[in-house]
């Protein structure tokens, strides 16, 4: 059933673009689907998202209150408490399920901040030559050098501990990597003839950056984003373990902090120690695998590795 010239509907430029993007997305998804590790990662992420969304249905928020806990102190797993209890008699399983929320929220929100800053700085420093681009490049290099955790600790101490502050701290300390990646990509896009065409036709800086550079940089940023989420979740765990997280919310990091402080190690309470850590490993590994699979789809050079 071939479509003749007369039958074909007249499409606006925007519709043509949209159709082309849809075809490209379908092709990418088919390539992604052929990678088992990436699919497995996606499945694990799906499970964690479901856990986070339905946490209140599985365990009532009252189970997280120290004052309403009825279990024994550091009891090993039993029928009533499949993963045992913590030092205040709360169910470790309930804590782990609720902890999923903080990890996912912080991981995703911090990544949004980091990616937005990184992309803006990266594109601007690649697009504008001269002193403006130079200053942005220097700034990126400087922040890249400062070791992440000491900087995050300093910022978190200065700002005080709350969920929003943890997100902000991780977001504003992890952008330089994205910025450098985007800058390199921007430079290679800027050298192509169609940007020269856009310039000659009188396209302004804003037009060039949003219509030509950004769409070309986006796929790479997307793959990088999944890897950034993994790092952000690890960072949240570390900051919470150091006591810099939100003191009123249960997260996997704060569970590990409590386990460490309450002597779970010397009393051999493996049921308190293992679940939050294994969850971190599972979710971080899942994001990493998805990110690597996306890189393989988008960057043919990576596929050969």
């Amino acid at each position: 059933m071939s479509v003749t010239q007369e039958d074909a509907p007249v499409l606006s430029a925007r519709q043509v673009t949209r159709a082309r993007r849809r075809v490209a997305a379908g092709r990418s998804w088919r390539e992604f689907r052929s990678q088992r590790a990436g699919l497995a990662g996606l499945a694990v992420l799906g499970v964690f998202v479901l856990l986070a969304v339905f946490a209140p249905l599985l365990f009532s928020p009252d189970e997280l209150k120290v004052t309403e806990a009825v279990g024994g102190v550091l009891d090993p797993p039993s029928g009533g408490y499949p993963l045992g209890t913590d030092e205040s008699g709360r169910s470790v399983l309930a804590l782990v399920v609720w902890g999923t929320r903080v990890s996912l929220i912080v991981g995703v929100a911090a990544t949004v901040i980091s990616v937005v800053i990184g992309t803006l700085v990266g594109i601007a420093s690649g697009h504008f030559g001269g002193w403006a681009g130079g200053v942005l490049e220097r700034l990126t290099d400087w922040f890249l050098v400062i070791p992440f955790l000491p900087l995050a600790i300093a910022l978190a101490t200065v700002l005080g501990s709350s969920l929003i502050n943890v997100i902000v701290v991780i977001g504003v300390t992890s952008w330089p990597g994205t910025a450098r990646l985007v800058r390199a990509q921007t430079l290679s896009v800027e050298a192509r003839p169609y940007l020269e065409r856009a310039r000659v036709l009188g396209g302004g800086h804003w037009h060039q950056m949003t219509r030509h550079v950004l769409p070309n940089v986006m796929p790479l940023v997307l793959a990088n984003t999944t890897l950034t989420v993994a790092i952000a979740i690890l960072s949240e765990t570390t900051l919470s373990f150091l006591g810099l997280g939100d003191p009123f919310r249960v997260s996997w990091g704060s569970m590990l902090d409590n386990a460490f402080a309450s002597g779970a190690i010397s009393s051999g309470a493996w049921w308190y120690l293992l679940p939050p850590g294994l969850c971190v490993v599972a979710i971080v590994l899942a994001f990493t695998l998805v990110g690597r699979a996306m890189e393989n789809v988008l960057d043919p050079r990576a596929r050969e590795r």
């Binding site: 992440f148 373990f241 120690l273 590994l285 050969e304």
Partner: protein, 331 residues
């Protein structure tokens, strides 16, 4: 080749320029460190003294120090960035004095862990990258990615519960923390062995945590190298596979990994903070943890500065060393 300057001149010129940009970075770190801790919202006195009993004279002293003009404080800070007028609130001693005692344990731990993880990681990366897709390659990539996903302090706690407390079939034979069993002479034969025994678990934790990245980078740069024409030439002239790998591919693929060993100092330092805490290893990491829990702002400020400057210096060294050994680096 004849037009390029001789090796010594090239490297020296590059080193000078690299040190100059490094100094620029250091100035940025110094200024940033000063103002970062002055962004404190509210009354700084209450944050400096939270959870601490100070007599009125000490408070007045602290307030006088913080009430000086910012410019004056900044100049005093530049004169000696590591003890800017205010003593450590936890130790009630100048910050620089406190830090000195904690440097050596951290150096011992980090150097041991970095050397071990680089050696093991590179070996794994070479074996996997040379036979890409083999069972060893797939297993080692899986294991290293899992290690990469682990919070290193959690790994430390798991090792502690297995080999220090001892659960299930695991023997609790290792000490749970510190550097030395009390009552043993540190520098006798017994003391040195005892210290090594204490070092074992924290060093193992950090080695496992770090080796993942070295293995992954070594593997991918060796894979890149295997597609180069000069390897075809090496094989075509009849060289054994083992020799092609050892004499041609590996030396070229090593450079990115070696650079990474230096560039990773920032990452290494981050690991030290939590792992030293878990193992009560009396180094700068444990000191940072105590400073956070205080919070001991002057101490935190000095530690942040020390870590940042260490990373800047390591970066300069890495760049100059790589430029010196690798003629491909544009200088």
């Amino acid at each position: 080749m004849s037009s390029s300057p001789p090796w010594g001149e090239r490297v020296a010129g590059y080193a000078v320029r690299r040190v100059l940009t490094g100094v620029g970075t250091m100035v940025f770190v110094l200024v940033f460190n000063f103002f970062l801790f002055r962004l404190l919202p509210g009354d700084p006195i209450s944050l400096y003294t939270r959870g601490r009993n100070m007599d009125r004279e000490q408070l007045r002293e602290l307030r006088r120090e913080l009430n000086r003009p910012v410019g004056e404080q900044f100049l005093a800070y530049l004169a000696n960035p590591f003890s800017s007028g205010v003593d450590s609130t936890q130790f009630s001693r100048p910050v620089w004095d406190v830090i000195g005692d904690y440097v050596w344990p951290t150096l011992v731990l980090l150097v041991t862990a970095t050397a071990l993880s680089a050696a093991i990681g590179i070996a794994i990366g070479i074996k996997g990258g040379w036979r890409r897709g083999s069972t060893f390659d797939r297993t080692s990539t899986g294991v290293t990615l899992t290690l990469y996903a682990m919070p290193e302090f959690w790994l430390g706690m798991v090792l502690l519960i297995l080999f220090s407390t001892g659960v299930w079939v695991f023997p609790g034979v290792f000490p749970s923390g510190g550097t030395l069993t009390p009552g043993i002479e540190p520098w006798s034969l017994e003391g040195i062995l005892d210290q090594a025994w204490h070092l074992a678990l924290p060093a193992l934790t950090l080695t496992l945590a770090y080796l993942a990245e070295y293995a992954l980078v070594m593997r991918s740069s060796l894979v890149d190298e295997t597609r180069q024409d000069y390897l075809v030439t090496a094989r075509a002239k009849g060289l054994m596979d083992k020799l092609v790998r050892r004499r041609h591919a590996v030396p070229n693929a090593l450079l990115p990994t070696i650079t990474l060993v230096f560039l990773n100092i920032g990452f290494v330092v981050s690991g030290a903070i939590t792992v030293e805490t878990v193992f009560s290893w009396p180094g700068l990491g444990l000191l940072s943890y105590q400073a956070i829990r205080g919070p001991d702002i002057p101490l935190l400020q000095a530690i942040f500065l020390l870590f940042s400057l260490a990373v800047v210096v390591a970066n300069i060294v890495a760049d100059v060393v790589v430029a010196a050994v690798d003629p491909r680096v544009r200088t």
